[in-house]
């Protein structure tokens, strides 16, 4: 996206004093020293200044032209990732006007802010039912890439759910994410013939650590378990009723995969620790989970992938662990509990 004009201008500027014959022989590798004089961002209306200034800071540290181009790309990606602009383009120009350095550059970002309010409607199939999901999104709420979204879903089996999420980058840093979420959801476990309805709130803070992504979160959930049929087995029936879980969680994830869904290379290492019941509520347990995924391209489009997941939990109150906290057999992304007391449908 760097305009050709700027490139020429800089290259031309360097060779000003030289003969034309020499310029042709010089290979331009961008290692010439430059100084960024000004950065201008055009097209802002709702976005706050300090947010943009923070994103563009690194441009002033660039010493060579190559650095400038690379950091321009970085900044452009950052702005795009913020999700508040419809388009971002960059122009690098020589600095003009009073006070301009000899090797000075002006960088101009042309941005178009996206619409603040958007709505969506879609259908989803899964969880043993089809559902209609209506959503509304308020982007850039306070001008610093915050986002507020509300989703409401209604399923064919009378289940309703909603999800209100507020997301905010902490101190204008897009990689430090604070998310506050309130929700109601329900899930049916046909094999075990129970349904879990959860209402609750989650606060989590995600930030990049030296080894990988760290997340600290607290969740408070009011859960209700009820039987789907009269023939539900008695151990499942005994689990019916209300419970309140308040837990603190720490997640560490190191992810070098190229894609989340069908990765072709890289690995994922994830550790989850959950401590429930120490901040209130009536369920008390400690739970640890670990997950490793390795992906290796063998040849052509054949990829070898291996996934290992395991967990350990211990109830810290006298009672046994509730059915909705247990590990469940749920396909390749979930774990089955071992040493299960219950027969067939549980665990």
């Amino acid at each position: 996206m760097i305009s050709a004009r700027a490139k020429e201008a800089v290259a031309g500027g360097r060779s000003m004093g030289d003969h034309h014959v020499h310029t042709k022989e010089t290979v331009f590798d961008g290692s010439n020293f430059v100084k960024v004089d000004k950065v201008r961002v055009q097209g802002l209306s709702k976005t706050k200044n300090d947010f943009i200034v923070h994103q563009c800071k690194e441009l002033f540290g660039a010493a060579t032209f190559k650095d400038v181009i690379l950091s321009c790309n970085d900044v452009k990606q950052k702005l795009e990732r913020a999700g508040i602009f419809r388009s971002v383009s960059v122009i690098i120009d020589t600095s003009k006007g009073p006070g301009a350095h000899k090797d000075g550059l002006d960088i101009i970002f042309n941005v178009k802010e996206g619409k603040r309010l958007s709505a969506s409607a879609h259908t989803a199939v899964g969880n043993n039912e089809g559902s209609l999901v209506l959503g509304g999104k308020l982007a850039n709420v306070f001008g610093r890439a915050e986002m507020l979204s509300l989703e409401y879903s209604r399923g064919t089996r009378q289940s309703t759910g909603y999800n209100l999420t507020f997301f905010k980058p902490v101190s204008n840093e897009l990689t430090r994410r604070l998310t506050v979420r309130g929700f109601k959801s329900s899930a049916e476990y046909l094999l075990s013939s129970f349904r879990e309805t959860g209402r609750g709130a989650v606060v989590d803070y995600m930030f990049p650590g030296p080894l990988g992504l760290q997340t600290f979160s607290w969740e408070g959930i009011w859960r209700e378990v009820d039987c789907l049929t009269r023939t539900a087995s008695f151990p499942v029936r005994e689990q019916c009723g209300h419970s309140l879980k308040s837990s603190v969680k720490h997640i560490f994830a190191r992810d070098t995969r190229d894609e989340g869904v069908y990765p072709s290379r890289g690995y994922l290492f994830k550790l989850v620790q959950e401590f429930a019941g120490y901040t209130g509520g009536d369920v008390k347990f400690v739970k640890g989970e670990a997950e490793i995924q390795l992906n290796q391209r063998l040849f052509s489009d054949i990829i070898f992938s291996c996934h290992l997941q395991g967990g350990l939990m211990k109830s810290m109150s006298g009672d046994s662990v509730r059915i909705n906290d247990r590990f469940f057999l749920g396909g390749p992304t979930d774990v089955r509990e071992k040493l299960c007391k219950y027969s067939n449908t549980l665990g």
Partner: protein
């Protein structure tokens, strides 16, 4: 020697037959599930649990009492108590009576058709008046609801569930009362209803030991369950107990049944 052996064989065969006769259809353990008696149960639930327990005692059925804080949610109908026999679960008074009937255990076998329908009529009356009055007093009278019923109902839960769930239950109770047409009644009118129900039962009972014939019927169990709860359940005042106490034949009836069926069980009930 041979003779004694055959005699022994005969004796054991008789024993076997007798044992089978005693266990008419109920060869599995009966378990009764209900909320915790001391700190959780509410007045209408207490009355219903008491009625079912009395019924089982009257049928001479041994049962194991299981106290669960989530008994209400375990019950398929949402009502307590429920009994579990093997894999079968039956909840609330009327279905349990029907279930026992199917198993060949019935208290009203010897009643005539007319007596039986009279009993059904009195049972409907008891349910309507007593149960509605209990729900009204414990959930709709603000003083009682705030002081007694809500804290008890929310007792097994952590904050804020101990506030939300009782509130939710209260809304349900109000809905129930509205359907029954009891929401417009004043507290005094409800006490009047109670008095009328007691009077009707007292008139029917007269000087008899039981409502029908000389043996207990389902009606006796149901009436005892409600009257006993009205007499003993601690609300903010003794108004309910006073009403029941103004009918001596009913109090005598309660004492009699308590002595007959709960003399040994009292200690166990309170544990």
């Amino acid at each position: 020697m041979r003779k004694t052996y055959s005699k022994m064989l005969q004796q054991s065969f008789i024993d076997f037959c007798l044992r089978n006769l005693q266990a008419t259809g109920m060869d599995e353990e009966v378990e009764l599930f209900q909320p915790f008696q001391k700190e959780q149960i509410t007045l209408p639930e207490e009355a219903q649990c008491m009625a079912v327990k009395t019924l089982l005692h009257m049928c001479n059925l041994q049962f194991a009492l299981r106290l669960r804080s989530n008994a209400e949610f375990m019950s398929p109908s949402g009502g307590v108590p429920f009994i579990k026999v093997g894999a079968q679960i039956v909840s609330e008074f009327d279905p349990i009576v029907e279930y026992l009937d199917l198993k060949g255990i019935s208290l009203s076998q010897e009643l005539s058709g007319a007596q039986r329908s009279e009993m059904k009529a009195y049972m409907a009356l008891t349910i309507n008046r007593f149960y509605n009055a209990e729900v009204f007093l414990s959930w709709y009278c603000e003083a009682i609801a705030e002081k007694i019923t809500k804290p008890r109902y929310g007792a097994p839960y952590a904050w804020p569930l101990n506030k939300i769930l009782p509130w939710y239950k209260q809304q349900e109770a109000k809905k129930y009362l509205k359907v029954q047409g009891w929401l417009e009644k004043s507290q005094d009118e409800v006490y009047e209803e109670l008095k009328m129900a007691c009077k009707a039962l007292s008139d029917k009972l007269g000087d008899q030991y039981y409502f029908f014939l000389d043996r207990p019927s389902e009606l006796d169990a149901l009436v005892f369950g409600h009257l006993y709860s009205l007499l003993t359940f601690q609300l903010i005042d003794d108004k309910m107990a006073d009403i029941v106490n103004s009918f001596p034949s009913l109090t005598r009836f309660v004492e009699r049944i308590q002595d007959t069926y709960f003399a040994g069980a009292a200690a166990e009930e309170n544990s």
